[in-house]
């Protein structure tokens, strides 16, 4: 019995989500026309965290490179923006774009050193590198040394003459950045290359044996993520208009919280950071006034989530309701030659053994 195979990635839910996403995007693009100043500020913060979380998810959740030193690139991006605008007079919004490649170039020597470490030691190694950058910038007196510096007024005014126009431009830059980050991550994961990432995460020797160049792939992802993180860092510092080594290279702000977001939302799924960011900001809006209590709560919450639902909220939704917003997983359907319209689903391992097909319509195997 000959069978034709059809591989499908989307589902009705993901198509609905795509339409819904477009609607949200239109609403976000037009937000400056009806949103208040503080709303825009909050949204840029949300975009920043969403971007950082999505990038960390690509790095750790998909490629298995568990870094706790991504604050290195947030800080480098921020300081690049300050340096480019103060010393070279570049327009700040252009500097946000250039900060990305600068951070990516600095990621090359960083990766060369810390890729010697594996697993948890890689994680702490990345942190040491971030500390090195923090301590170096604390010595740069032209950028305020340890206490930091503010963006000079004439540079702020060079973005746009009025405050409202500046807020709008920064907002749109942030929106553009998050859309670009999502697009790059989505395309990466849709490509064959994306499959190589998950292969490396699940087993390095197995990935190598099917022809994946592990080192090169990991290096490229690290490079890419560092660059995008650098641009996000530049945006964050542009929004704050102030930079200091302790804030720009803060492990809690730019790594611990980001990891919490990804873990609460669901690691290794593109929906995860989206859901996690929403939860994180809801918690923050309600409990941030509690100060240290709020952070204790957040820490405890992260522990509880790790213990009780290691795949996060998105993982739970995917398991219980087969809910997947981004069409990334592949489903294999077998089309019988005789009656092509009656589509039957079967286990994906039938791919290798076409004769041993399971009962039609019983199970659809999802391959991540």
């Amino acid at each position: 019995m000959r069978e034709a195979v059809c591989i499908e990635r989307g589902s009705r839910i993901s198509r609905f989500f795509a339409a819904f996403g477009l609607l949200i995007l239109v609403l976000l693009i037009t937000a400056p026309f009806y949103g208040g100043r503080s709303d825009l500020y909050l949204l840029v913060e949300i975009f920043s965290y969403l971007a950082l979380a999505s990038l960390w998810n690509l790095l750790a959740g998909y490629t298995g490179l568990v870094s706790i030193g991504q604050q290195a690139f947030v800080g480098l991006g921020g300081y690049t923006l300050f340096a480019l605008t103060i010393f070279f007079g570049l327009p700040p919004l252009l500097a946000v774009l250039i900060a990305g490649p600068v951070a990516a170039v600095l990621a090359i020597p960083t990766a060369w050193v810390i890729f010697r470490l594996r697993g948890a030691y890689f994680a702490i190694g990345t942190w040491v590198v971030a500390e090195v950058y923090r301590l170096i910038f604390a010595q740069v007196s032209a950028l305020g040394g340890g206490s930091g510096t503010s963006l000079p007024t004439q540079i702020i005014q060079s973005i746009a003459p009025t405050r409202a126009a500046r807020d709008n431009l920064i907002y749109w830059t942030g929106l553009g950045l998050i859309v670009a980050v999502f697009a790059v991550i989505y395309l990466t994961l849709r490509l064959r290359w994306g499959l190589a990432l998950t292969a490396i995460r699940d087993s390095e020797p197995a990935a190598e044996s099917v022809g994946v160049d592990n080192y090169r792939t990991k290096f490229l992802i690290y490079f890419l993520t560092a660059g995008a993180t650098g641009s996000v860092g530049a945006l964050i510092s542009l929004q704050k208009l102030r930079i200091s080594p302790d804030a720009a290279f803060s492990v809690n702000d730019w790594t611990a919280f980001v990891i919490f977001i990804v873990v609460i939302g669901g690691i290794g799924r593109m929906e995860g950071p989206l859901i996690g960011t929403i939860v994180f900001f809801l918690l923050r809006e309600f409990f941030a006034s509690l100060g240290p209590w709020y952070l204790m709560l957040l820490g405890a919450f992260a522990v509880v989530i790790t213990l009780t639902m290691p795949k996060g909220i998105a993982g739970l939704l995917a398991e219980r309701f087969d809910l997947q917003l981004f069409p990334l997983r592949r489903r294999v359907h077998f089309l019988e030659q005789k009656s092509k319209d009656s589509t039957s689903s079967a286990s994906a391992d039938a791919l290798e053994r076409p004769g041993k097909r399971q009962k039609p319509g019983v199970s659809t195997k999802n391959m991540e």
Binding site: A60, V66, I68, R116, L117, A123, I124, G125, I259
Partner: protein, 287 residues
């Protein structure tokens, strides 16, 4: 002579870093767990000692009589209650859980003790010095720290290589499933390993508190020092950790002589250089 005394100070400081590292190295060796909260637990023990010295009026070193058992119990409880449930092939869950514990501890200490710098007052032990030939002098406290570190590492070596408990630790480290088949209760032993690790942490914490000012935020940096000492010395080798601590200590005191701002930076740079040139560290894993 100034340079020699800086090197000497660095060597003795290395003892403290070796104490930081020994506890972390032990749990990594036994269960492949990197405890991100390690530094915060060091700071926690310093704060417990602070409370005890303030309320009981005892010397910080005497407070160890209570700090060590308290931290040991905490270690066992933390391992059985939290970390044991995260162990597996994936390194991420234990990392996350300990990150959560770290953020929790930092903020709990901040809530209770505020962000003010604190110090354990150890009377004239802080200033007592012994004169050496050539007009140099070394502090009694740094010497004491160094000897305690050597003593602790000797003790750990004896425990690991000459007792039944040590054999159980080593067998779990080699192969968890087989160890369990041989009748070892892994969950209990992991608890004991963490208890032992935090017993060492509590000694390190009290010495840290006598030597320098501390506040709730300094934990992560101590974790990094511990980590650097372990990697420089070579994973899984306790004497290596002592050598690693000494190298780190000397790098820091020499860096501080050039410019006080370079102290910690110099340590990190020496660490990264050694990592580049000799990623396996200076000593092989002891078998």
């Amino acid at each position: 002579m100034d340079l020699v005394s800086a090197v000497l100070d660095g060597i003795l400081l290395g003892g403290l870093y070796a104490l930081f590292g020994a506890g972390l190295s032990l749990i990594f060796g036994v269960m492949r767990l990197v405890n991100i909260a390690h530094g915060d637990l060091i700071v926690l023990s310093a704060f417990i000692a602070l409370v005890l010295t303030a309320h009981l009026g005892v010397h910080p070193l005497v407070s160890l009589v209570l700090v060590v058992p308290l931290m040991t119990l905490l270690g066992y409880g933390l391992q059985r209650g939290v970390f044991n449930r995260t162990l597996g092939d994936d390194i991420l869950p234990p990392l996350l859980a300990s990150f959560g514990v770290s953020v929790f501890l930092q903020n709990a200490l901040l809530k209770i003790f505020s962000a003010d710098s604190q110090r354990l007052h150890a009377g004239n032990l802080e200033t007592l010095r012994v004169d050496l030939p050539g007009g140099m002098a070394v502090g009694v406290l740094p010497c004491l720290m160094f000897f305690v570190a050597v003593f602790v590492i000797c003790g750990l070596q004896l425990l690991l290589y000459h007792t039944q408990l040590g054999r159980a630790f080593r067998s779990i480290s080699d192969d968890q499933e087989t160890a369990q088949l041989m009748g070892i209760n892994n969950a209990h032993l992991f608890g004991l390993a963490m208890a032992l690790s935090l017993a060492i942490v509590s000694i390190a914490g009290v010495f840290l508190g006598i030597r320098t000012n501390f506040d709730p935020s300094i934990g992560p940096t101590r974790l990094i020092f511990a980590f650097e000492a372990i990697i420089i010395g070579g994973l899984g080798n306790l004497w290596g950790t002592l050598v690693g601590g000494v190298i780190l200590g000397v790098a820091q005191t020499l860096g501080a002589r050039i410019n006080p701002g370079y102290q910690i930076l110099a340590g990190h740079i020496v660490f990264l250089t050694i990592l580049t040139l000799r990623p396996q560290g200076f000593f092989q894993r002891t078998r």
